[in-house]
Each structure stands twice: as C-alpha cells, then as structure tokens.
C-alpha cells in the first residue's frame, strides 16, 4: 500500500535550518488538496476513435479532500467541455429541500497519489473556488468518501501535513 505525504509551506516561515517548515496555519486555511486530471472514460474514447472524431483533451486542476461529501464531485463545466452526457442523477439534501444533480462517468487521475480510476462523479458548480496561491489554482474536484473508503487518510493539523495510503 503506497503512502503519500503532503506538506504545505509558508514561504516566509523558516525553522532553525535553511528549509521551510510545514505550516499548520496554511494547512488549516487551504485543506488537503492534490492535483487532478479529468478525462473521458475508455468507452467514450474508443467510441470517438472508432467514429474518427477527436477525443477532447483532459482537464487539469486541483481537488480538495472533503470528508463531508459522500460522493466525489467535479466542476460541471469541466465535464461538459469533455462532451460528456449525464448517465444518472442523484438526490442531495439541502436546507431548501432535496435537489437532483447529474452524475457523469469519467476517468479520474490523481497523479500526486499515483492513482487512476473510472467512476461516477457528481457534476457540481465550483465556480470561484481556488487556492490563493500565486498564481491562484482552480479547484475542479472534491474527493469524497466513495474514494476515501478505499484508502487511509491521516490529518496532522498540528504538524501541518496530511498523508494518504492508496
């Protein structure tokens, strides 16, 4: 089971040595994020290739680990840019009552965790969600419990880092 350790650093904060120290403040503010690549699933790629149609290029961004989300979510405009159509719907509860949301089947890659898989994700609106880095990085996905249930996640808030074993 490979393990991946993730640290957030504050460029202005150094420890006694020359290296920056993990920042608990940065970690608390930003949460656990990791790069994500969203692409069409193999069935769609094969269909487009056989039909002589171009395969839309993958879309990259950041994903945020969200232990409150039961399902993994992706920014819906990213899914539509890939030419994907909904293959299901799901009911989610809100303060205003139940809302029906579209599900899409995709290939999801998490290169920082060396993980690739095909799964159904919820199309959501993540407009304006970004990490305030320089330059800002858009958040295009939420990693929910349907993926986390297969892994071991360790959140070290005091130390300013998180680890995941996939």
């Amino acid at each position: 089971m490979p393990s991946f350790h993730n640290y957030l650093f504050d460029a202005g904060q150094h420890g006694p040595g020359p290296h920056p120290m993990p920042s608990a403040v940065m970690f608390s503010a930003h949460g656990a994020t990791t790069p994500v690549i969203v692409s069409v699933p193999p069935a769609v790629e094969n269909y487009l290739n056989n039909a002589g149609q171009p395969v839309p290029p993958p879309s990259a961004g950041l994903s945020l680990v969200d232990t409150g989300a039961s399902q993994t979510c992706v920014h819906e405009p990213v899914l539509k840019a890939l030419g994907l159509q909904p293959s299901g719907t799901i009911q989610s509860g809100t303060a205003a009552g139940p809302v029906t949301t579209s599900l899409y089947f995709i290939r999801l890659a998490l290169p920082g965790l060396m993980w690739v898989g095909d799964l159904q994700v919820v199309g959501v609106d993540l407009s304006g969600q970004s990490l305030p880095t320089d330059p800002p990085q858009d958040i295009v996905g939420l990693i929910g419990r349907n993926l986390l249930q297969n892994w071991t996640l360790i959140w070290n808030g005091v130390g300013g880092h998180w680890s995941i074993s996939t």
């Binding site: 949460g31 269909y47 799901i90």
Partner: protein, 83 residues
Amino acid sequence: MALEPENNYFDTHRAELLKQHRNEFVLIHGDDVIGAYATFDAAYTAGVQALGIEPFLVRQVLDREPPAQFPALMLGMLSAQLS
C-alpha cells in the same frame, strides 16, 4: 432535468425491475430498457456502444438509493473557507 423520462420510467416500473433485476445495473434510454448488467462499467460500455454519446441512464435496481451529502458545498462553506 437531465434523464427525466428515463428516471420516470425507472420509478414507475421499479417493482417489476426489482423482481427481474435486483442489484443489477439497468441501461435505459427513453422508455426502453436496453439491458441489465452485473456492473456499472458493463452497462455504461453497452450504452456507449449502442447510443454513442447520447444521454442514457444507468441505475442500480435497489429498493431505494441513499441520498448524497455535500454539506460544505451546499452550505457555501467552501467559498467561506477559501475566499
């Protein structure tokens, strides 16, 4: 709403589908049940092969599906945290 005819068909015929395909994944397009499959991947692949990139429904035949939960997203806490 996406896939409304397909979901209406599923909900109307759920009892019948449960008798024949409990726990399987049915592939529905409009009012047509194209097939029932052991896995989601098999149903989705069959759907793309039959219908291309048109919308179609793949839904597991269960008594009822658990609702999804996205508290941070639904309550706007992501924006509050990150802005």
